[in-house]
């Protein structure tokens, strides 16, 4: 990805995922409050970020692997179809995990985060970015970038993409969790009541938009 915009989009989507209470910052906050320690918030965020990274990496690398077997048109349609289906499902039927709890270690937190991100299609949401910008030939000339034929993304590019997205997610989630933790007595939790917009709906819309982008790219 030689242009800057795909990286910006990946980072923005990371921030967006970080903002969603269902993606982990709220969990980190609650665990910190339960233990009455700020460090518990921070320690919880790391496995949450790791789980999130694993989920989006899985989606992107799977997509990359399929690129070797399937023509780009089929891939495009497939990705769009899954995104539309997931978006429509989330639009009409809310759901949430069962069987989780508050007494969780790092491994369980990472697993939880991985499952939440996967079930919400967090990784799939990023795939249209890769579709839209499938070339990454690092060919520079003095005159600038040369138009190149479509070429699959390199693994290092995907790794970097995972990292950028997750770092952005972690920063936003971390800021929110710590902000709420520090102010929870006075305003934090009250604020939560009034500002908790329906992320499931927003998320569903984001999935539908991602589906459209996949089709149009």
């Amino acid at each position: 990805m030689t242009q800057r915009w795909p990286w910006t989009v990946l980072a923005l989507l990371g921030a967006y995922h970080g903002l969603n209470p269902g993606m982990g910052w709220l969990f980190a906050l609650a665990l910190g409050l339960q233990e009455k320690r700020r460090s518990a918030v921070l320690y919880s965020l790391l496995p949450i970020a790791a789980g999130h990274a694993a989920a989006i990496a899985l989606a992107m690398f799977a997509f990359r692997a399929l690129q070797d077997f399937l023509p780009i048109r089929i891939l495009k349609w497939g990705v769009a179809a899954i995104l539309f289906a997931l978006g429509a499902y989330r639009l009409f039927r809310a759901s949430h995990p069962r069987g989780a709890g508050m007494r969780v270690g790092a491994r369980e937190l990472a697993l939880w985060s991985f499952l939440m991100a996967s079930a919400h299609g967090a990784g799939l949401m990023l795939v249209p970015v890769l579709l839209a910008q499938p070339m990454s030939a690092k060919t520079h000339t003095m005159a600038g970038e040369l138009p190149m034929p479509p070429h699959p993304l390199s693994l290092s590019t995907l790794t970097l993409a995972t990292f950028i997205h997750t770092a952005s997610m972690l920063v936003v989630a971390g800021i929110l969790a710590i902000l709420f933790f520090e102010t929870y007595e006075q305003i934090g939790l009250k604020l939560l009541r009034h500002t908790w917009i329906n992320f499931d709906l927003l998320w569903a819309v984001a999935l539908l938009i991602a589906g459209a982008v996949a089709l149009l790219s």
């Binding site: 609650a30 709890g101 329906n198």
Partner: protein
């Protein structure tokens, strides 16, 4: 689905205790006369500014007779904010109303017209039995990931009693909750410590042991439930039985601390075979904060309420031999700020208020008398009228300033302790914030032949909601 979180959900009990006052109360009412008359859900106006304050403003009859409405609960509550399964845009809107005798479960929608809830779904007893293996559904709690109900027994009327879940969105029964039930056999109430991934359940008796009235032989033999069970909420596994001793008969209502960081709660015992006293026990996890999470739970008696000597002439046959009226503690409730504990003495006709700021050393700070097997104490608005039944199901407003309670227990048992029959009433107390209770003279609801049982408040109350944030 809502665009913002349901305004009746509060992350913490501290915030919930600042909630606005409730305007309506829902009351399960039993029709004891049998025949074709169904039970009903009553709607009572509890808005002080309303002209109809203290009046029944709505009634929803159940589609069948003989349900024995008893406990019920909201489809969703503050536990929807729990961080591991957040879904705060679901609405606190439906009341899940089971028939304790029929095992039929009704779902009522309170949204279009809160004063006239509409039955939108009925789950037939056979469906409950087939899907879960349980019958006689009792307590209803809105959990972080589903609606949970306890049940007294199996389809043939024996044990084991247990817990089952309904889907949050479709209300379909999902199956039995326990993966490993260990020695647990009796069911009754259940509650959670969400901060500790721990569930607690209590013991009454199997349907066959209670549906024809209390069986004196079983009672004197110490055969009713006397254990508390501790469960791993996530693995759905039995962890520990806490035996209160066989003389402690019928371990009923569970009231855990609302603050999820506190690992303790109160449970009421109806009667001690030693001296007919009732008692309240504190279950707790020593050194919960900082200690190992594998630590054992313990239980300790913290309140004892003695029986009162009585003229046998004034006692029902069941009690004549004892020459005393037992307090028959049938319900307790804990204020949302975990400060005051209320104790309903259905036998002696007394409502007690304890300050439990130090849960190990409760202090009696308030008491009122109304009804009672011997006392028949009147309500202050009708000082000459003797009342029967006694304080029973008790519910508190979220701010802890108002206490509502009803006077009927369970048809077959009402008959044994109040053989003359019970005239239904619902009373309300005003609470002094620093301790002390007194009757609200503007609020005395008489329900006549219909016998009121559990009270639920619009927007939530002290025993509806569980919290994940301190």
């Amino acid at each position: 689905m809502l665009l913002k979180a349901d305004p009746t959900f509060y992350p913490s009990p501290k915030l919930a205790s600042q909630a606005p006052a409730e305007n309506l109360a829902y009351v399960a009412a039993l029709n004891p006369n049998g025949g074709s008359l169904p039970d009903a859900l009553l709607v009572v106006d509890v808005d002080r500014k309303s002209k109809k304050y203290g009046e029944i403003v709505g009634q929803v009859d159940m589609p069948h007779a003989g349900d024995e409405l008893h406990h019920f609960g909201w489809n969703a509550c503050s536990s929807a904010l729990c961080p591991y399964a957040p879904h705060p845009h679901i609405e606190r809107r439906y009341l899940i109303v089971p028939g304790l005798r029929s095992s039929r479960i009704h779902v009522l929608d309170t949204k279009p017209n809160p004063k006239k809830p509409k039955i939108i779904k009925v789950i037939e007893p056979s469906t409950v039995a087939e899907r879960t293996g349980y019958t006689r559904p009792h307590t209803v709690h809105c959990g972080p990931d589903g609606i949970y109900l306890s049940a007294l027994g199996s389809p043939n009327g024996d044990g084991p009693g247990g817990i089952f879940a309904l889907d949050h969105y479709t209300f379909e029964p999902l199956g039995r909750w326990e993966v490993e039930r260990g020695p647990q056999y009796f069911g009754y109430d259940f509650a959670w410590h969400l901060g500790y991934d721990t569930a607690v359940s209590s013991e009454w008796g199997t349907p066959n042991m209670v549906e024809n009235g209390v069986n004196p032989e079983l009672l004197l033999g110490g055969k009713y439930g006397h254990n508390l069970h501790i469960w791993d909420l996530r693995k759905r596994k039995h962890l520990q039985s806490l035996d209160l001793g066989a003389e402690q008969q019928m371990v009923l209502e569970l009231r855990p601390a609302h603050d999820p960081t506190k690992a303790y709660g109160f449970v009421g015992v109806v009667v001690s075979l030693k001296d007919l006293s009732s008692s309240i026990w504190l279950w707790h996890k020593p050194k919960a904060n900082g200690g190992s999470s594998n630590g054992k739970w313990e239980i300790k008696k913290v309140i004892e309420i003695p029986a009162e000597p009585a003229d046998p002439q004034k006692l029902p046959p069941l009690l004549q031999g004892f020459k005393a009226v037992p307090p028959l503690l049938t319900d307790i409730n804990l204020s949302v700020d975990d400060r005051f504990l209320y104790a309903s003495c259905w036998g002696t006709g007394e409502m007690r208020q304890y300050d439990v700021s130090d849960p190990f050393n409760p202090e009696l700070v308030g008491s009122v008398y109304i009804g009672g097997i011997v006392r028949h104490a009147p309500h202050p608005v009708k000082p000459t009228r003797e009342l029967n039944g006694g304080p029973q199901m008790v519910e508190l407003s979220r701010d802890g300033r108002r206490v509502y309670f009803s006077n009927s227990l369970y048809a077959a048992w009402d008959k044994q302790f109040y053989p003359e029959g019970i005239n239904g009433w619902i009373a309300k107390l005003d609470v002094n914030p620093s301790g002390g209770i007194e009757f609200d003279r503007k609020f005395f609801v008489e329900t006549g032949e219909l016998r009121p049982h559990q009270v639920r408040l619009q927007g939530g109350d002290a025993s509806s909601d569980f919290y994940c944030y301190p």
